[in-house]
Every structure is written in C-alpha cells, then in structure tokens.
C-alpha cells in the first residue's frame, strides 16, 4: 500500500440533504469511498440508507449537497446517467428478465452491434470473459435466467454491473435470500472485485456478515451521520449503540392495562412460507411485540395464523379451541383481525370508498337479508372516521386520495369496526408521519386496556420498547427469545435479531 489515501478517493458525498414533505430523510450526510474498499452502510430501518444510495444512483435528486466521483463533480440526471458514470446497483429483489438468457441479460442495452445487427460472437466473448473473471465458467450463457438458482442469478446481476465497467457497486442486502454456500461464494467474488479496484458499498442487517466483509463502516441514524470508522477497530456493541442512539419515550403514552388468560397460542406452527416452527402465546390485554429482520418470518407467521397461508404443521389455539387449518373468513368469525404490512397491495382496496374499506369485513350490522342500509353505514363510518381522526373527508371518497397516514387509519378503523378481540398488526406505523404514529400507539394501548390482545410486528425498535408488554425476537424463522419489554434494550434486541443469540452470555461474562 504505497498509494496515498487522497488519490484513492473514488466518491465523495458532502452535506447531502433530502426531505419528503415534512419528513427529513437525510440531513447533511457525508460519505467517502475509496478504491478497492468495501464500505458498510449501517443503520436501522428508516435511518436513511436507501435514500442515500438512491441519491448516489441518480434515482433521487438531493435537496442540497455535493458529490464527486474521482474528483470530478457528479450530478446524475437519472439512474442511466449514474450508470454511465460508473455507479451500479445490485438490488435486494433481483432485476433480471427471467425469460431472457444469461448473456442477453448481461448485455441488455449494450449489445455489441454493427448497423443495428447484434454480433453474437462478440457478445458471447465478452460474457465469457466476465464470467471467467468471476470464476463461474459453469454458468452457461445460453440458458434462460429463470432456470438458475438465486445465487447464480445474483452472479449474473453482478456480471452485468462488471460489463458496465462499474467503479462503484452498491449491494443492498445481497445475502438476504441466499443460502450459506451462496453467501460464501458472494464474499469470494467481492474479494476479487476489490482486487480489481472496484469500490463496494455494502448494506446489510446481518452484522456478523458485515464484520467479515467490510473494511470500514458508516452508521446513519435519523438521516444523520452517527459514526464511522474501521471495522477492525470497532466492537459490535459500539456499532449497535451508534445505530440505536437515544430512545424517546414521550411518544409512547402508557395506558395501564391488565393482562389475563391466554387468548391465542401457536404450538409448533409452520406455515407454507415459514422456515421453522414457531411457538408463542398471547394473553388478553397483552401487547406482544415481535422484532426481527426483514425475512425473519414475522409476517409469514401472522399470515399462517390468519389463514392467508396454508398451515403445514402445528396448531393455532384461539380461546379454548385448537385448529390445524382455517380460512381468513373463519378467523374473522373467531375474533381475529389482521392489519397487512402491504397497505397498498393487500391492506386496502384503493379504488373503493372509505366506507367500503372500513366495513368490508363486517357488513352484517347494516344488512337485512343481504340488503344494505347505506345511510346507516355512512353514519357509522363517519363516526369511526371521527374516532380515528381522518378529517375533512367524505365516507364515499376513494381511499386512494388519502395520505399514507390516513390510509393506515382507515385500515385500523376496519379492525375497530370488526370488533376483533385479537389484533395482528404487521408494521402498523410503516411510512407514516409522526403524529399518526403517536395516535396509533395510543390506540394500541387503549385496545389493550379494553381487554384486546395485540400482536405487534415492527422493525422500529423504539416503538416496540415503548408500547409492548412483552417482546419476542425472531431470527431466520425462529424465536430467539421472548421477555418482558423491561428486560430488553435496543442493543439486546438488535443483537438477538442480527446474530440469533441473546446478549445473556455476553453480560454474564462481564464482571
């Protein structure tokens, strides 16, 4: 290493700021990347990582700030422009065309041609060259991509970036859908890319993996720099502390509630989309938080309980009755209600009215032998809208015109109208403003005080710690541990979720 660090600087981002309406996603962030370096970008969900990366790729235009690549000012007009300047993205969800072959995917949009006619030999040569460099000659260029494994698909995706002559490669959760072997292979490829001088920005929630791969790290928190340094010099605990920061308890009104008998219990439950069996018990008046990384099986568990995914093994006990299968309409009759994490895709019928969306799961009170009384329904819905504070809107307006926060309140109003006793809430505060969040926390507390049982899945630790009585942490499809919320702290949950072990052994080791 004789080169001076300044020469190696590939990318410099300074004072990058970006707001979406009232929410500030980035506030004066700086980020530097050197040649041949793997730089981990860390932070909780919503900390601003993906916005920063989008600014870099050109997909998002920052409100303020400067960027330069190799000392030259960089101001991408869009992702294509970014690519031309050497910035390539490898996304979580792969972006290959499944029906095209490996070589067609790799060369898509840059096919070697002469007067508009593709030159197959030249195309094949360049594809072979890059696959050989990655030491994957076994991937056949003429095979349709849909026939490849997930790991091989990712290699094709990286090959595409290499053909683009990427100088900066952004990998967003690259291992989240890979097997262990495929992950190892990815790490080997990353090593080879480093040797070639490619700089890599590596985003992952799996901290141990990050420690292995990355040379340096930058932590973001609430859209600001929370710390950075060399990976080798920073213990895991220090990084986690930077990620979690200070917690704000004031947002979370504590409403006293009593916990009673068990209302819902899962015994060795495995749904079709789940990786392993889950056992959990939820009691009357209890708010049970479920923490874990994306893909840790939280959503899949709720879906199996609610009958949206078929159950393969195990049982769901509601009250005193044990079930091995069930459809959503049966679960609703048994007093369950589910708030989907996918508000737009599943939770709400966007083109339908507020009234329709609120009452769809329980039209009974307005119908006499199947005929609806629309006037009475409008009154009830108007009352509910008042209660959940959706203001200035007519019950007949389509849900699509509402803001994200108000849409979520409509989805919650449905559960209120349904009078569900057991509420399964999947990321109820995702993507909504702080005021709406606070209102939702207050409600969850009120519902518990009324004796309802609440399962609360969230990726935002402060709200779990602030709202829940008990928190269970999921890791790769299993429950790592379940404890009273007071026995957890942010760092402990993050460690359990990211590593799959609780901090107990670590604390015992201390004097």
């Amino acid at each position: 290493m004789t080169r001076s660090p300044a020469d190696d600087l590939v990318l410099r981002m300074e004072d990058i700021s970006k707001s979406y309406g009232a929410t500030c996603a980035l506030a004066g962030v700086r980020f530097e990347l050197r040649r041949g370096e793997v730089h981990a970008l860390l932070g909780e969900n919503g900390a601003g990582k993906s916005t920063l990366v989008k600014v870099l790729s050109g997909a998002v235009r920052p409100d303020a700030g400067r960027m330069s690549i190799g000392g030259v000012p960089y101001l991408p007009a869009g992702p294509i422009d970014g690519k031309r300047c050497g910035v390539s993205m490898i996304y979580q969800e792969l972006t290959l065309c499944p029906h095209l072959t490996v070589e067609e995917n790799i060369m898509l949009g840059k096919e070697p041609r002469r007067r508009g006619v593709v030159r197959p030999a030249e195309m094949r040569r360049r594809v072979r060259e890059v696959l050989d460099f990655m030491r994957h000659p076994e991937i056949a260029a003429e095979v349709p991509v849909r026939k490849l494994s997930v790991g091989a698909k990712q290699i094709v995706e990286i090959a595409r970036a290499l053909v683009d002559e990427a100088r900066i490669l952004v990998m967003d959760e690259p291992t989240s859908s890979l097997t262990l072997d495929d992950s190892e292979e990815l790490f080997r490829i990353i090593h080879r890319l480093k040797e070639r001088g490619v700089a890599i920005i590596y985003i992952s929630h799996f901290l141990e993996e990050v420690r292995r791969v990355a040379d340096v790290f930058t932590v973001l928190r609430d859209g600001r720099n929370a710390g950075s340094g060399r990976m080798a010099d920073a213990p895991l605990e220090a990084i986690i502390r930077m990620m979690v920061g200070q917690e704000f308890k004031e947002l979370f009104p504590r409403i006293p509630h009593d916990i009673g008998e068990v209302l819902l219990s899962l015994d060795g439950l495995k749904g079709r989309a789940m990786q392993a069996e889950i056992g959990l018990a939820l009691r009357k008046g209890e708010i049970l938080g479920i923490a874990g990384l994306i893909g840790s099986g939280r959503t899949e568990t709720l879906r199996a309980v609610f009958g949206l995914d078929p159950i393969e093994r195990g049982t769901v006990t509601i009250g005193r009755v044990r079930f091995e299968a069930g459809q959503p309409w049966e679960r609703i009759e048994q007093g369950l209600g589910l708030l989907s994490e996918d508000r737009q895709g599943e939770g709400l019928a966007l083109s339908q009215s507020i009234a329709d969306n609120v009452t769809l799961s329980r039209l009974g009170p307005f119908s006499r032998s199947g005929v609806l009384s629309l006037g009475r329904r409008r009154e009830v819905v108007a009352g509910l809208m008042e209660r959940v504070k959706v203001k200035g809107r007519h019950p007949g307006e389509p849900v699509a015109v509402l803001s994200g926060g108000n849409q979520q309140k409509v989805a919650l109003a449905r559960l209120l109208h349904q009078e569900a006793d057991i509420l399964l809430l999947d990321e109820p505060t995702r993507g909504i403003d702080v005021m709406s969040k606070a209102q939702i926390y207050e409600w969850i507390g009120r519902l518990a005080a009324q004796g309802k049982a609440v399962l609360f899945v969230s990726s935002y630790l402060p709200e779990l710690l602030g709202v829940c009585d008990t928190i269970a942490v999921f890791h790769r499809g299993r429950v790592v541990d379940s404890r009273p919320a007071s026995a957890w702290d942010g760092a402990g949950i993050l460690q359990a979720a990211a590593v799959g072990r609780t901090g107990a052994d670590r604390e015992e080791a201390k004097p």
């Binding site: 949206l308 019928a349 015109v401």
Partner: protein, 324 residues
C-alpha cells in the same frame, strides 16, 4: 368549496359522463336532415329498444364479471347454446314454461362450470372462457345436428314481438324484462352485501380475502349469475328467430364486453355500473340504427363503433388520471 361538495360533484360527473355519449349520438342523427324524421319517431325508439334486449341481458351479467376483475368470452356461444336448448325442448313437446326454464338453466350451468374451473384450477378467466366459447358452440351444433332446429310457434315467440300483445304493454315483453332485471341488478350491485363483495374482489382480491370474503364462492356465484342472463338472452334469441340456430350471435361477446367498457366498466376490475352498461348498449344500438338509416355501409358502422370504444375508454382514463 368543501371536500364534501367536491366529492359530490365528482360523483355526479361520473354518473353523467356516459349519458353525454348517448345524448351526443342521438343528437348527431337528429341533426341529419335526411333521417331526422324517421330517426326520432317513437316506433324507431321502440325497435332500437327491442334490438338491444339480447346484448343488454348478456351485458347485465358481464357487468358483474368485469367488475369482479374477470371476463367471459363464452357469453355469445352460451346464448346460442341456450337458444338451441329452448328450440329443442319446444320441438320435443315440452310446455313453453319448461322450455324457457331449460334454456335459462342451461346458460346458468355453463356459467357455473366457468366459475368452477376458474376457482378450482386457478386458471385465468380469459383462458377458461375462451375454451368454453368453443365447447358451448360445439355442443350447440351437435345438439342441433349441425343445422337449424325448427320448432312450432308458442307464446315464447311473442316475447320479442315489435308490436306486443296485449297492446297496452307498448313495448315488447322482452324489453320490459330487460328493464326489470336491470333495475334489480343495479340494486343487487349497489345495495347488497354480495354486490359490495363483487366490487371488493375486482378492486383488490387480496384485500377481499383479508376481509374474510369467500372469494371462490363469490366468483362461482358471479359466473353462474352471468350464465343465467346468457340463458335468458338465448331465450330471447330463440324468440326472435323462431328457430334454434347454433351459428347465431357469433362475435356477440365482444359487443357485450364493449357495452360494459363504454359504460365505464374497467377490465382491471373494481369499476362499472348497470346504468353505464345499459347506456353503452344503447349507444351502440342507436349508432347501428342511425347508420343503417343513413344508408351507410356496414363497414362504416364498424369503424365508428371501434373508434367509440377506444374514445370512451380513453376519456375514462383521462378522467381517472385527473382524479388521482
């Protein structure tokens, strides 16, 4: 202007938009001096109404299917099959009410099979009903021995008579049936639990499932209901022709679908209305009627109706984009 007023005006505009098209078509021919007098005569309106019955009945059921996000390409074949069944039944000496019931139930059965295949095999409606289009047409030809079935005249043939008996009816019984069923179906769609479920399934099937709607059962019901209307349309077809003709109504499914779409139905599901559909039917009927009176050749009608479909859906899109 408050949000409430704005919402009301928007709802009113949505309701009025299809009417404008119909008024425009009628106004257009009323302004043509060479046909004005004949076109505006009550007798002409009566005959347009009678000519609309078969497409309208088929379109009532199709409205439910399209709102639920589906499609039925077998509607016209089903109409032909049902008309053959009625003729067959009358021919073998069944009393007219029984023949009528047989035709309607045959249509319902075809719809039930469509719905059953779509939900149990999880196939897309386009494919299932494309297959059924061929199957129903084939069965109709088979039943009729590949020719027309002649049958003795019964009161069924009076259902589509241009001058109805008794004369105080004013319109053919078939037209009255169309009106009664349209009112009834509009009520079912707007004001019943089943109707709300149809909209919910078409708007977002995942949401419908999440809200505990038994989507499969509802779909079988929707396709069966639509089949029953095709059966009734088949009865009217037989009534009009006085024979069971297995080759009748070829391509009529596209007229039926066009009527629903011109009337504001969205092929993506979640939108549509009975009133809109009826207006769509009448827009097409008046156009055909007026073009024929003008002595314009058939191909002009086809070009105009094709353009109207694209324009109606295009306008709808523009309206939606502005609303969003």
């Amino acid at each position: 202007m408050s949000g409430h007023d704005k919402a009301r005006i928007k709802i009113l505009l949505n309701w009025l938009a299809p009417f404008l098209g119909l008024i425009l078509v009628i106004a257009l021919f009323s302004l043509m001096p060479e046909v004005r007098e004949r076109f505006l005569r009550p007798a002409n309106f009566k005959s347009v109404a009678t000519q609309s019955v078969i497409v309208a009945l088929g379109a009532l059921g199709m409205t439910f299917i399209i709102i639920s996000g589906g499609i039925d390409l077998s509607a016209a074949s089903n109409i032909a099959l049902s008309s053959v069944v009625v003729a067959y039944a009358v021919n073998v000496g069944a009393p007219p009410p029984a023949a009528l019931a047989a035709g309607i139930l045959c249509g319902g059965l075809v719809g039930f099979v469509n719905g059953g295949l779509i939900t149990t095999l999880r196939l897309v409606p386009f494919i299932v009903t494309l297959g059924m289009m061929g199957i129903a047409r084939g069965v109709a030809k088979w039943m009729a021995g590949n020719q027309k079935i002649d049958a003795p005249l019964t009161w069924i043939n009076g259902l589509m008579a241009k001058s109805p008996r008794p004369s105080w009816l004013l319109l053919a019984p078939g037209v009255w049936l169309m009106i009664v069923f349209a009112v009834l179906m509009a009520f079912v769609l707007r004001r019943t639990v089943f109707g709300r479920h149809v909209f919910a399934i078409g708007s977002n099937e995942a949401t419908a499932r999440l809200c505990g709607i038994r989507t499969r059962r509802a779909k079988v019901l929707i396709y069966s209901l639509s089949g029953l209307f095709c059966g009734l349309a088949g009865v009217m077809e037989y009534s009009r022709l006085t024979v069971g003709d297995p080759t009748v109504a070829v391509g009529l499914e596209l007229d039926i679908i066009a009527a629903v779409v011109i009337g504001g139905g969205s092929l993506a599901g979640g939108e549509g209305s009975i009133l809109g559909t009826l207006i769509g039917v009448f827009i097409m009927s008046f156009l055909r009627n007026g073009c024929t009176m003008m002595g314009w050749p058939n191909y002009i009608q086809e070009i105009i109706i094709g353009a109207i479909i694209v324009a109606a859906v295009g306008l709808d899109q523009v309206r939606h984009r502005r609303a969003a």
